[in-house]
């Protein structure tokens, strides 16, 4: 029985602090964030699959000029933040905020660093956001 896969539901799971991907019942391909149909075999029978939250840093940046929402969080030229590409233990890659690194000193951040997911409180009424931090 195919499950309804949507970004909306993905966000709901994140709200419960669960990182969920989708798995194709036909070919087994795994997608995080989830895809509602399989981009590998065009299968439409997709199932939710929970990720462990473990991964490694595949690419990153430290952003000094951010969007208005990040400025609101207190980030600016003197206080950059880190965003990155995380390769999950299960294989897929995803983009996320990276916490617990020294974004003022980007050369100290190493690709390949082991990471674990966490949830950042964005302050005010902005809710929480998925992030990864070094283990």
């Amino acid at each position: 029985m195919a499950q309804l896969i949507s970004d909306h539901q993905f966000e709901q799971f994140l709200g419960e602090q669960r990182l969920m991907g989708s798995e194709c019942s036909s070919c087994g391909s795994l997608f995080v964030p989830p895809r509602a149909s399989c981009s590998n075999c065009h299968g439409t029978e997709m199932q939710w699959a929970e990720m462990s939250g473990k991964g490694r840093l595949a690419a990153f940046t430290c952003i000094a000029i951010g969007p208005p929402s990040m400025v609101q969080e207190g980030y600016d030229r003197n206080n950059p933040y880190c965003s990155g590409v995380v390769e999950l233990e299960e294989g897929p890659r995803m983009v996320a905020r990276i916490d617990g690194v020294d974004a003022k000193n980007p050369e100290s951040i190493k690709i390949g660093t082991s990471l674990m997911m966490k949830y950042l409180d964005r302050g005010g009424d902005q809710g929480t956001v998925l992030a990864f931090a070094p283990v």
Binding site: F31, F60, T61, I63, R77, S83, R93, R97
Partner: protein, 409 residues
């Protein structure tokens, strides 16, 4: 291709997209060797990314048809982020090649400077994918992350990116249409002069790289992208006249031929198989090479989509000019300089010529037009028997890519 024209690129508080397109069209009409009658134009194809956002105005196809006095000729607008006008060019080629139209005007434009820098960033981020925006990635941030993956894999560093920037500025200093007609050395000299006249401490940069390493002169935007790694906010317009091959002789004895045409789509940053390559570019290039019968080594010079310095390095690899992981070495060795064996971005590229996003694809092809016809002035490529040039245009974070090969026969 029998005619081409472009406005100057820059930030113009007193000119909008209509004004700039009129400038470009005016230059086009005088560029046609044997003259042209605008009434003979069958249709108009224009690329624009998001004037909808930048100046709160849509429906630009019809607006420009009216502005240029082309009503009631049909006008179609294409959107493919920063590759918008390369898509217009492709549609125009299809229209002419099919025989449906004989004479087609094709171009692109963008009006970005009427918004604040923060708003422009917000507008450009419309071309990122939702997950990237959620993770607080900006455009410089996405290309910054690609750069860290490239550095890690191939051993390149910021110093190598600086070689791209220095080259772009050297070329743009020779381009009268460029937004920044200055070399890095020119910029250093003017800053030293300003410091002297204001009685401030005079900077003592030993060379261009020392200047680019100085965080005051070249602040970080999104590691490792610094100010001088990023293309600017620009306004501009560019257009070309395409006609059926059998009609070309009525317009000029020296037309350019569309030898190869490629376009492909790609995935978001997180889903790409290889963080150090754009799959869409590789596929678009394959298509254009197959159509033309040319190999990468046959392309004598090219304009590539250097929205950020690292992008130029990836593209010259993805297009097959240099092996994967060797692009940064090629730039370091000077192979891509104006006087090198494979000049890249002779116009100064997006970095220095300017990047009015919807105009960029068209403007790149116009650089190829000027070079192939020997009309590039001080930045004329000096390769003998210059015959084959190409332009590569990238949209978003690699979601759209095109490669177009032009030939002078």
């Amino acid at each position: 291709m029998v005619g081409a024209g472009m406005s100057k690129f820059g930030m113009f508080s007193d000119l909008d997209s209509k004004d700039l397109f009129v400038q470009a069209f005016g230059e086009l009409t005088t560029s046609v060797d044997k003259g042209m009658d605008p009434n003979d134009i069958d249709a108009l194809y224009v690329g624009n990314f998001t004037n909808d956002f930048f100046v709160s105005q849509s429906h630009w196809g019809a607006i420009l048809a009216d502005t240029l006095g082309l009503v009631p000729k049909p006008a179609t607008r294409t959107e493919g982020a920063c590759a918008s006008s390369a898509l217009a060019f492709r549609e125009a080629v299809f229209a002419v090649a099919s025989g449906f139209y004989d004479i087609v005007l094709v171009g692109g434009f963008e009006d970005m400077s009427k918004r604040s820098t923060e708003e422009v960033s917000e507008g450009l981020a419309l071309a990122a994918i939702p997950y990237e925006r959620k993770a607080a990635f900006t455009f410089p941030g996405i290309f910054g992350a690609i750069a860290t993956a490239y550095f890690d894999r191939y051993g390149a560093s910021r110093e190598h990116l600086m070689n791209v920037t220095i080259k772009s500025h050297n070329n743009a200093a020779l381009n009268p249409k460029a937004q920044y007609q200055v070399s890095i050395r020119d910029i250093m000299a003017s800053k030293v002069e300003r410091a002297r006249s204001k009685g401030r401490t005079i900077p003592d940069w030993s060379d261009e790289k020392a200047f680019l390493r100085d965080p005051k002169a070249n602040p970080m935007i999104a590691w490792p992208m610094h100010l001088f790694d990023c293309s600017p906010i620009s306004d501009g317009a560019a257009c070309m006249l395409l006609v059926g091959e059998e009609l070309a002789g009525q317009f000029t004895d020296d037309p350019l031929y569309v030898a190869g045409l490629g376009q492909a789509s790609g995935k978001g940053l997180h889903a790409t198989d290889d963080l150090t390559a754009f799959e869409a570019t590789q596929c678009a290039a394959d298509e254009a090479y197959r159509m033309s019968g040319f190999k990468p080594s046959d392309i004598q010079f090219a304009e590539v989509h250097d929205c950020f310095s690292i992008a130029e390095i990836l593209h010259i690899e993805d297009l097959g000019f240099f092996e994967k992981g060797h692009g940064y070495k090629a730039v370091e060795e000077g192979l891509t300089r104006l006087d090198g064996p494979k000049p890249i971005n002779t116009s100064g590229g997006l970095k220095c010529k300017g990047h009015p996003v919807g105009a960029t694809g068209a403007a790149q092809l116009i650089e190829v037009w000027e070079q192939l016809r020997g009309q590039a002035g001080k930045r004329q490529v000096q390769i003998s028997d210059l015959r084959i040039g190409a332009a590569h245009n990238l949209g978003g974070t690699g979601g759209t890519s095109t490669f177009t090969i032009l030939e002078r026969r």
